[in-house]
Symmetry: C2
Subunit: 258 residues, 2 copies
Amino acid sequence: MDDPREVRQQIREGKWRRPTAGLAPGFVQTNLAILPRDLAFDFLLFAQRNPKPCPVIEVTDVGSPEPKLSAPGADLRTDVPKYCIYRNGALEGEVTDLRSVWRDDLVSFLLGCSFTFESALLQAGVPVRHIEENRNVPMFISNIQCVPAGMFRGPLVVTMRPIPARLVSRAVQITGRYPGVHGSPVHVGDPAIIGIRDLAKPDFGDPVTIRPGEVPVFWACGVTPQAVAMQAKPPLMLTHAPGYMFITDLRNEELAAS
Amino acid sequence: MDDPREVRQQIREGKWRRPTAGLAPGFVQTNLAILPRDLAFDFLLFAQRNPKPCPVIEVTDVGSPEPKLSAPGADLRTDVPKYCIYRNGALEGEVTDLRSVWRDDLVSFLLGCSFTFESALLQAGVPVRHIEENRNVPMFISNIQCVPAGMFRGPLVVTMRPIPARLVSRAVQITGRYPGVHGSPVHVGDPAIIGIRDLAKPDFGDPVTIRPGEVPVFWACGVTPQAVAMQAKPPLMLTHAPGYMFITDLRNEELAAS
């Protein structure tokens, strides 16, 4: 399962129903958010104003389920193993196929996820604790407010990775090379300054071990746009299910700043 | 005239009617394009798909003439010395005030201009020929097609600056730090490869001297989105007049990649 086209074919045929971590190594996996066109301008504007939590990989043409730029030939209605359907901000159900709920006015947003920059950190010898400990990354609702756009507003959700002090600078530079997947950290050090009381009690995900001499480093998190969109209670919103990402044909290195 | 707020006030009161180059040194000047809301999504999408020619500094809220993020308190209807009004793709006239044509459905786009990165090049000792020769930068319509979005499509317009061979790498790195103002070059070397026949005959602007040992280096140009928008013949489009830019409160360094 090294080729993204092959993986998507397997998913489309119902032969792969599990999370996508580790599939098609080296290729960019994305978050998926689908909204009606009349909300799409404000959502795109929200992403433009908040590029760190909302790094846009691609926005499809209105009504088209094909991400022509990042995965030509793919179908966003069938090529993700599990989807969530939200109506008025409430989860209506989880499905494996969106064809029955698809409409001609839907716009799909592919947003960068942290798999890409974590792979770059690991290759540069920067440890990623939650991967070492086989847990979900710890996520916290910070007191940093996103710049609002239309009906979309809310706090920035951040991920935390403990980094050995001597590697903090390297971690900043490596992730800074990838603005398309959250980029450089939004905060380094004292969590209290951004409204986080207890690193042992994340709002989402799992706590991880912080060793002596390590600094907590915080990156903008892709949960932010989903949380913000849900809070706005749009009549219809379709997303990937957490961990069940869309796999593009883009290589991680293609997201490096140019 | 060092403070951008003061400069805008002078412009608003009709006391400054000339081009803005050299005003409020160190502060970001931008291109301005104003479109009705029903075209704004496609135009923002075009910018998202073509970030090098269309670096978005800010998009205002629908109907609001105030760029709250980059120049709070400013009024985009009065704070530019000269505007163009286009209807159905044709120039209707030039005015110094947009208040009489303003509508509640208008969305303003502030797009990065090359003043910022040229200042960075000069500070790093990279010569900028058209400034030395006191000419307009030479611009060429390339054979590179922008990624279309909705009604917006067209070729990439590029600027050319001749760079001494030993400084090309430095020029790439310095401008690459500023993705908000066109970023790194789109092409280095042979102009024929991108469809340019004669460097002495630019499509817009003036030719400049290319000395022995210099390499022609091409950057995406902010004329692109304006040309593309005009070609789509929108019912109404308002822009700054060439050279009469909007001056923000952002410092050039704030546009550096983070």
